[in-house]
Subunit: 342 residues, 2 copies
Amino acid sequence: MNPTIKDVAKHAGVSTATVSLVIHDNSRISPETKRKVLKSIKTLHYLPSKSARDLVTQRAGNIGFIITDDHFLRTEPFYTRIFLGAEFEARDGDYYVLLATVESNFNEEDQLPRFIQERNVDGIIIAGKVPQNLIDRILELKIPLAFVDYETTNNCCPNILIDNIQGGILATSHLIGLGHKQIGFVGADIQHPSLLKRFTGYKQALENAKIGFNDKFVETGSLYPDRQNGYDAAKKLIEKNKNLTSIFACNDAMAIGVMHYLKDNGFKIPDDFSIIGFDDVESDLLLDPPLSTIRVPKIELGAESIRIITSYLKTKTIPKKILVPVELIIRQSTSAPGSKRI
Amino acid sequence: MNPTIKDVAKHAGVSTATVSLVIHDNSRISPETKRKVLKSIKTLHYLPSKSARDLVTQRAGNIGFIITDDHFLRTEPFYTRIFLGAEFEARDGDYYVLLATVESNFNEEDQLPRFIQERNVDGIIIAGKVPQNLIDRILELKIPLAFVDYETTNNCCPNILIDNIQGGILATSHLIGLGHKQIGFVGADIQHPSLLKRFTGYKQALENAKIGFNDKFVETGSLYPDRQNGYDAAKKLIEKNKNLTSIFACNDAMAIGVMHYLKDNGFKIPDDFSIIGFDDVESDLLLDPPLSTIRVPKIELGAESIRIITSYLKTKTIPKKILVPVELIIRQSTSAPGSKRI
DNA sequence: TCACATTAGTTAAACGTTTAACTTTGTTTA
DNA sequence: TAAACAAAGTTAAACGTTTAACTAATGTGA
């Protein structure tokens, strides 16, 4: 069996309390005793037991990370990176991150994630949109909660958000700056706060540039912002508006769908048509041409959410909203409106 | 505070031992008492504390998952999915999975992952290649260990492996079946057992088809099997062998590099040149044309590794090697050798 | 010189379970 | 009828820490 604090105490000729105080660097201990104890710790290869510690301190040492399986499968590289950002940051603090997926149609009777049932987390991060009744049940249990990339209306909890409006402005302004005046918007799930704000940014940029907003240029009918729906939206939009020269898609997945539609229909990108996405999913780089987009600092988003929740656990104070800035990434899918087609 | 076992005992009018026995479904308890206790548990919303349990049972309830940061960043979608497979499977068992990355040049004095320091795992899964001295130190601590996608020479521990040889044969035979006779191989890090076996499969398929092996058709100089090195390898290989009609790349990342090189140099895929990869990373689908490849069941690989290690923890028996079968995925990057170039 | 701090440690209870060993009561068996 | 056994619980120790409250020794100011 592993050595315990008692073994160390005996070896160093002190009480277990002293050993504990040394471990926690308490000033009550003289330098000499400290040295002696540290030496014993080293020679015995002593490591404190986490479960014993957790029991007495009444903490779990874990942060739960919840996401719907739907989100996870559909937009995996996006949320995976947020998770990783959380994971990395948690390591520096003193936590582990436990992952759980829930069904997107989670309902009353469904089992809560196991780490909640076992009281195995000190706090929870929810990534992306989840069913309201899940949120309610967690709040009922009074487990500290933070949301990343999902804006809640009741401001019970901190929200770590992408600056979606700014992103929408950046993307649209980029196209405007290149000389585009006919700019389409491809979106989805208009209930989703993030997507809505990107749309708001789009409109705001048009207004700033004194370009009239035209709702014929907007296609937001589908539920999920995925590749197939991007393809279909592009089809509708372009068939309806022959004069369009560019599209801002609400995320990269849809942008990729748009690109495929354009390619399938003989448009050259960016010569005939400029297209910009949002998210900067890594795979953008594989595209031909590489996609201009708005970079979302995913790792940073995850890290920030850990910082928020652990600081809450320490100080019991919550900031309401954190807005993480985004960045315009110009690649080769956008250019000045060039040789017009047909 | 949450209710404890004492509260339940008091509420049900029994001892805490009885409550514990009920929870563990011990036959010593009469049906009537059992019913009574279960009712109290329900009305009080009692949930056993994991840390108390862990302390007394001397288990952590966690499995560690270790990977080098290098692997993780370079081939993220691949190992991420293995991790997820482990995560999902662990949930059904009674474990959480804790992730840790280590530096690929991990050395003696470096800190072991925190979950090892804190004795917070019952077993460890190592994914992909890691430095030998890390392995040695874990073995020293006598923590049960399993390797996924990395073959260890000393057979101390179970190895959950992709059937790389079979994959190499499948890929190469596919090209041969299409009529190719000049088939290049693009690889890397010839020390890496997995890559080596893919190469073995390549040679074996050639032999099976009575096609002579030509080491001019092989390029395995670079250290990492990534996109850039794929690009460079294709360049060398094709400049050297004008008669090549197809390439089997040891993974998709390199295959993508090869495709980029081919595109940059005016080759049409698959008309002028067939290319097949290995791994079936999701992003293959974005490529133009979509890449034929060998699918590795990543989720399954992770799940299997959890099954192996938890079954070891229960029964203390280890299977030596598990070979997970792979599958040929034919997309549009391979076809019969067609209209030759220039 | 004495009351009082300060320093450097110790003692012992507490955290919430599990489980071996024990008790009590009732039922067989020889 | 007594001894043996089975059934259904209980008691109490143990797991390995942390920490409030205590103690003993030394230093300090009036």
